[in-house]
């Protein structure tokens, strides 16, 4: 009997009651209104719309997605070479082994045409920094997005199951969560990416660059506990709500209760938490690639960042670009997450 009894309304006695009964007319209550009331989502959208920073972040993210998935091929077509194409001769790489500065015109060996390196070359291979940056956005977003998806699917399923069914299911899942939590996460992810990573790298499903799914699998496997905990707590509190009891009282099935009464209440925390998770995975991917255990060969921000120090006194911009890309993307997701949280729950504090 964990439920706390509602605070008792002070009774004014039978007399008051009688008077109130007399006053009761049973007539029209509230104004007559035929219009459809504002829905939950509409209210949230109205609150969210007022948050200029969050709107800006959202727009930035949409732009980034467009650039990464649609813009990158267009840019590739426009500049006439790909992100992995090599420009091995001067001026893309000068005699001292230094990559070209921004806006250098180079001859494409394959087509014989003059191409331009907008942000210069990324390394001694003369690869196009600009293209690698925007293709890197794609990898970053893929890794971060899919990992978040994986983490949320596992986390929500396990967390919601544990919270809804409780009992031994909850016991098992909660213990599993605690065990996973106790792993020294980053240390483990690095060791894992380095040991089993090369074997997993072969899996691409035909659409993802090599290594993306490796990171997704590893991140998902060790990152689900956090959403699971949040979702378990949420579901535990939702299932104690009287409207869930009411649904059970009328004989609704578990499926129906979960679908109509539990899941809709999880949407908000899922969205908010996902947004913030994406930001953390963008950082993590860059970190692992920087340490040489993440994405290899393919352009990723972590890779660009790790080749930055090779030239950081002679070509400091090569370190600035990817760092800035990571910063802006993470910032945008964090701000969007904060904005969404405020929109979903205006009372929530800044944490």
């Amino acid at each position: 009997m964990a439920r706390r009894e509602q605070e008792i309304v002070v009774s004014t006695g039978a007399g008051g009651l009688g008077a109130a009964v007399a006053a009761e007319t049973g007539g029209a209550l509230g104004e007559v209104e035929a219009i459809r009331a504002r829905g939950y989502w509409e209210l949230i959208w109205r609150r969210f719309r007022r948050d200029k920073v969050a709107i800006g972040s959202g727009a930035f993210i949409i732009l980034l997605i467009l650039i990464a998935f649609a813009g990158a091929p267009i840019a590739k077509h426009y500049v006439g070479h790909g992100p992995n194409d090599l420009f091995l001769t001067a001026p893309a790489v000068n005699l001292a082994g230094l990559p070209a500065n921004p806006w250098t015109h180079v001859t494409n060996e394959a087509t014989g045409k003059k191409n331009v390196l907008v942000l210069g070359a990324a390394n001694r291979l003369g690869q196009d920094e600009f293209l690698r940056l925007i293709y890197g956005a794609r990898i970053s977003l893929e890794v971060a997005g899919l990992s978040t998806l994986g983490v949320m699917i596992i986390g929500v399923l396990l967390g919601a199951t544990a919270g809804y069914f409780r009992g031994w299911v909850d016991t098992i899942i909660s213990r599993l969560t605690e065990v996973t939590m106790a792993f020294p996460l980053l240390i483990f992810v690095i060791s894992l990416a380095a040991t089993v990573g090369p074997q997993l790298d072969k899996i691409t499903l035909g659409i993802f660059p090599k290594g993306v799914l490796t990171l997704v699998v590893i991140f998902s496997l060790f990152g689900w506990f956090y959403p699971a905990r949040i979702m378990r707590a949420q579901v535990l509190s939702i299932r104690e709500k009287e409207y869930v009891e009411a649904a059970r009282m009328i004989g609704a099935s578990n499926t129906r209760i979960i679908r109509s009464h539990v899941l809709p209440h999880l949407v908000a925390p899922i969205i908010v938490y996902s947004t913030l998770t994406v930001a953390s995975y963008v950082l993590l991917e860059a970190g692992l690639s920087f340490l040489g255990v993440g994405i290899k060969f393919e352009p990723s921000w972590g890779n660009l960042l790790s080749s930055g120090p090779d030239f950081y006194t002679t070509r400091p911009l090569l370190m600035v670009w990817p760092g800035l890309a990571v910063l802006l993307t993470t910032l945008a997701f964090n701000l969007l997450g904060d904005g969404l949280r405020d929109a979903f729950d205006p009372r929530a504090s800044n944490m």
């Binding site: 992995n84 090599l86 001769t89 082994g97 001694r124 291979l125 060969f297």
Partner: protein
């Protein structure tokens, strides 16, 4: 026996003595103009090396052992050919029995370990016992238990764990007597390897000395290890008991030397520029040109010294793609973009090279066999791509090796391979050599591989790398798996030749093989690039050819 680019100098000594054993140089004179004292700080990107004298094996380790060891005979701290001639050190002389199986060394008095104990014949016997010990698993064991080469009586038994002491090594007063199972001309070269230096009996017989703190690893050379923290710091300090006397003529100007392991290129460079570190030989490629312009080459602070190594891409002739496919092998040679390939390591890293003998191999010729020509390459490759699929092994560590792999991949695409049909397999560290050394591996070619001279003789290049009958189940070094009877016969007969004719025949064979067979695409030669601090006295830099590095004993600060 494995000689790999990354283990470079390990066996250099063996062959050197093969040719020069007879002629002993006279002891050198120390340069008294150099400043004495000071600690030399050396920083490197590499992981730390083993310091146990019977286990140290790779280049950097032997560079340090050279400064700390006292051997029976040794190479002087001299640049050029003088530095490759053996001189007596702890032994004053040696005699060989008539049948060539018994060597008797007469030892000098006056050599002392850094802990003050006198060096006696016992210490050399102890070294051999440790090398042969089963549990210590010294890489030196293979050099004294080789049934077809140097084989000390009783060494095998110890190596199999059936005995503690090598019965063929006998101490009689100041004499050390070593019995071999059969006569062997390379024995002197082998006994000069750091494995067989005077070793203190303080060292446990069957356990490696890893951490050194103070005096648990005494040695009898000019220096000794005073400290070893794995992957952090290794220090050598002057052996105060190394006083001038007969055989004790090696220079030792510095008070000591500290090696900082596991640094990163860029910070190391910054620290050396700032004179916080005295020597850095892993320069960031983008900085090399700058320091070369600033200091000039081989004058003051920037030096580039060539190593006796050749870089190449082995083409696996036992797998279907390159089997009997001379056209495609030649096409690869025409297609490889060697300039940028070498350039990945920055300026002064070495030269573009297209045949096996680099300028340090006796009998080398300055010719260019393959000049990059995509049209020729495509013409040759046309119709010879077989299934169109190719598997490439590459080295995945560092930034240079993967970049070279990308260049080769691009070359393959240019040649007509579909990007999707090129399988790139990465190997960290030196694992690529293990993988390629297994007969029947699925590699069609390897990237960023190389070979360093074990001894200055062409046999080490042609016969070791390309002789078919020596192919075994694994641990091969014939990564091309070339096994052509006609050429096998030629190699066998060339090996028997001596003198100028030997060099001439090998020299021609080098070029003929590359032109007619093309079992590999030779890409480059190698240099080591050094940056020194302004504290270093450039006059003290003596490049010791045997150890492919500057002699520590000769080094001095300003």
């Amino acid at each position: 026996m494995h000689r790999r680019l990354w283990l470079s100098a390990a066996m250099l000594v063996v062959g050197a003595s093969l040719l020069v054993a007879a002629s002993f140089a006279s002891a050198g004179t120390a340069n008294h103009a150099l400043k004495q004292g000071g600690i030399w700080k050396y920083g490197t990107e590499g992981a730390s090396v083993q310091v146990d004298p019977q286990l140290a094996y790779i280049t950097t380790a032997w560079w340090l052992e050279y400064a700390t060891a006292a051997k029976l005979y040794n190479y002087p701290d001299k640049a050029g050919p003088v530095g490759t001639k053996l001189v007596p050190e702890v032994a004053s002389k040696f005699t060989v029995s008539r049948n060539g199986k018994v060597y008797t060394f007469t030892l000098r008095k006056g050599f002392k370990f850094s802990d003050g104990a006198a060096v006696s014949a016992k210490n050399f016997k102890y070294a051999i016992d440790r090398v042969a010990n089963k549990d210590l698993a010294s890489p030196g064991a293979q050099f004294i238990t080789d049934p077809s080469g140097t084989n000390i009586v009783g060494a095998k038994k110890v190596n199999d764990g059936q005995a503690q002491h090598v019965s063929g090594v006998v101490v009689k007063g100041n004499k050390l007597i070593i019995h071999l199972t059969k006569a062997d001309g390379t024995f002197m070269a082998k006994i000069t390897m750091p494995f067989f230096q005077a070793t203190s009996t303080k060292l446990p017989l069957d356990k490696e000395v890893v951490t050194v703190n103070g005096s648990n690893l005494p040695s009898a050379g000019p220096y000794f290890y005073s400290r070893n923290d794995v992957n952090q710091l290794t220090s050598i300090r002057k052996n105060t008991h190394y006083s001038k006397g007969p055989g004790r003529t090696r220079p030792h100007n510095l008070a000591g030397l500290d090696v900082f392991w596991n640094q990163t290129e860029q910070t190391l460079f910054n620290q050396t520029q700032a004179n916080q570190i005295d020597e850095d030989n892993t320069l960031p490629p983008d900085q090399v040109q700058g320091v070369a312009n600033q200091y000039g080459k081989n004058k003051t602070r920037f030096w580039a010294k060539s190593q006796n190594c050749t870089g190449y891409l082995p083409l696996n002739m036992s797998n279907s793609l390159f089997k009997g496919n001379t056209n495609l092998r030649k096409a690869i040679n025409y297609a490889v973009n060697r300039g940028p390939y070498v350039g990945q390591a920055g300026p002064f890293a070495g030269d573009v090279w297209t045949h096996i003998f680099n300028p340090a191999v006796p009998g080398w010729r300055n010719v260019t066999i393959y000049k990059r020509n995509l049209t020729t390459a495509k013409k040759l490759a046309k119709g010879h791509l077989k299934s169109g699929k190719i598997t490439v092994y590459y080295r995945s560590s560092g930034t240079i090796n993967p970049a070279q792999a990308q260049i080769v991949r691009q070359d393959l695409i240019n040649l007509g391979f579909q990007a999707g049909n090129i399988t790139m397999k990465g190997f960290s560290g030196g694992n690529i050599y293990t993988a390629m050394g297994v007969k029947g591996n699925d590699a069609d070619m390897g990237v960023s591989m190389g070979w360093c001279s074990d001894y200055p003789d062409p046999y080490d290049w042609i016969n070791i790398l390309l002789y078919g009958p020596s192919i075994q189940a694994d641990n091969n070094v014939n990564y091309s798996y070339m096994n052509i009877p006609k050429w096998n016969k030629k190699m066998a007969s060339a090996a028997k030749l001596v003198g100028p004719r030997r060099l001439k025949v090998y020299s021609q064979m080098d070029i003929d093989i590359m032109k007619q067979v093309a079992p590999m695409a030779v890409t480059r030669t190698y240099n080591t690039r050094y940056l020194f601090s302004n504290r270093v006295n450039p006059k003290s830099l003596v490049f010791q050819g045997i150890y492919s590095d500057f002699s520590i004993g000769a080094m001095a600060l300003k």
